[in-house]
């Protein structure tokens, strides 16, 4: 079984929100329902400054705190290690939102349930070749694939670029960042 993960190279991210809007379109989201959240970090002082744009989304953690606290089992770790939400079980208590260290879960204002990045390629039936954010990224900052396959693009890139989860070993996150 594959173990899906992603690499995000913040050195290539220009903070253009394209992935966010592409994700909205792919996943039928409300304008307020953002699976991707951007953080902007400024370093240095004028005129020697640096800028880092960091897109955050569900890290599909192996130790997923959201799944641990979900009282109804709506959040679970599904095939391929994808953390998923079964909408039909979600009561919208938002305990998972509190428990998520990355604040990447959102309420669907229309159904009252909680949702988040689905690694859409894994479940897509419309011929989508990779996650819509990966497909849309203008600068190729994102790579998706099987972490268990050492030959996959994502595995090779992680090794080559020494990518690490955003918070180290905190939750065994499966999105790796190049900073």
């Amino acid at each position: 079984m594959a173990r899906y993960g992603m690499l995000i190279n913040t050195k290539k991210c220009i903070g253009c929100y394209t992935c966010l809007v592409a994700c909205h379109r792919q996943n039928n989201l409300l304008p307020t329902e953002n699976f991707i959240r951007f953080e902007e970090r400024e370093t240095g002082t004028y005129p020697n400054v640096g800028v880092e744009n960091i897109p955050l989304q569900c890290m599909h953690c192996e130790d997923a705190p959201c799944a641990a606290v979900c009282p109804t089992g709506a959040t679970y770790i599904g095939p391929g290690g994808v953390v998923a939400v079964e909408e039909g079980r979600c009561i919208g208590c938002k305990y998972c939102m509190a428990a998520c260290p990355y604040q990447v879960r959102v309420v669907n204002e229309s159904t009252g349930t909680v949702d988040k990045c689905r690694f859409c390629t894994v479940t897509a039936t419309d011929g989508t070749k990779t996650c819509s954010c990966v497909e849309a990224c203008l600068t190729g900052a994102r790579t998706f694939g099987d972490l268990d396959d050492p030959e996959s693009d994502v595995s090779k890139a992680i090794v080559e670029l020494n990518a690490k989860p955003i918070a180290g070993d905190l939750t065994k996150a499966k999105i790796f960042y190049v900073r």
């Binding site: 606290v69 089992g73 305990y95 509190a98 918070a167």
Partner: protein, 286 residues
């Protein structure tokens, strides 16, 4: 993007009422043991306990809109034994059940409720109060929640608000029974004092362990929630009731003041939950 609190006033109210219910039941048991003649006060406590917890549960369901729109989903609530919220549902269910039976037997008046059942109620009352703290305590995103002091603070606050609610009810329905309870007044006096101490330690420690914790504490004591914290919790909820109780011990009862003090404890108790929920800031992981 600025952080928006996950929960708000409704969940604060739920936590508050759950704690209050537990506290009220225990207060009733306490009164029954120490002043068996004060049946009115005992009854007030036993009426309050299940009702407020049920109201709290209803609020929880209102806030959980996914379930509100599809009530059948609440059936799934027991499917994850690892979730504190699942334990909470069990604890609250047992407590409400016990408290309701005790109340019914009390109302029917034929038989006293068996002691074991009252003890089940007492134990689950404490658990209910503790649960509200543990629910937040296990969330390690927020340093303000993620510490062992918070559940203790919530238990003390639950007992304090529960007692205040019972006393308030007593003062309104049967003031003459309340009059003689000097010993309880002493307990009632000690709780806010303990709370102030706990609060001090909680804020001190949280402010020192992480930047997010420090920011949360700053938001409470000097930021956007400072007014609610100092006036609502500290003055109205803790210090003024304390002063009123001390005064009562020294120079005798004053019904009006006692009512004011109890109302203050209740307001403060609610604000404790509310501010701890909304002022908590997450650890920044970038």
């Amino acid at each position: 993007m600025t952080f928006v609190p996950v929960w708000g006033g409704i969940i604060a109210c739920y936590l508050f009422l759950a704690g209050l219910g537990g506290g009220a039941f225990i207060t009733a048991s306490l009164v029954k043991r120490m002043h068996p003649e004060a049946t009115g006060v005992v009854r007030v406590g036993r009426v309050i306990a299940p009702i407020v917890v049920i109201v709290g549960l209803c609020l929880l369901m209102v806030d959980a809109r996914g379930g509100l729109y599809n009530p059948l989903r609440f059936v799934f609530l027991l499917t994850n034994p690892g979730s504190v919220m699942t334990w909470g549902v069990v604890i609250l269910a047992v407590f409400v059940l016990a408290a309701l039976i005790v109340l019914l037997m009390d109302l029917i008046g034929k038989n006293e409720a068996p002691a074991w059942l009252v003890w089940v109620g007492n134990v689950f009352g404490i658990l209910t109060a503790a649960y509200t703290g543990v629910l937040l305590g296990v969330v390690n995103t927020f340093p303000l929640w993620n510490n062992a002091l918070l559940p203790v603070l919530f238990i003390v606050s639950a007992l304090s608000t529960g007692m205040a609610a019972v006393m308030l009810g007593g003062l309104i329905t049967c003031p003459e029974q309340v009059k003689g309870m000097v010993d309880l007044t002493k307990v009632h006096l000690v709780l806010p004092a303990i709370e102030i101490v706990l609060f001090f330690f909680l804020l001190f420690i949280v402010a020192h362990v992480s930047t997010a914790g420090a920011a949360s504490v700053a938001a409470m004591v000097s930021g956007g929630y400072a007014l609610a914290f100092w006036v609502g919790i500290m003055a109205v909820g803790l210090v003024i009731p304390l002063v009123i109780e001390i005064r009562a011990l020294r120079s005798g009862d004053n019904r009006g003041l006692a009512i004011a003090g109890d109302v203050g404890v209740l307001i403060g108790g609610y604000l404790v939950r509310y501010i701890i929920i909304v002022a908590a800031l997450p650890v920044v992981l970038l």
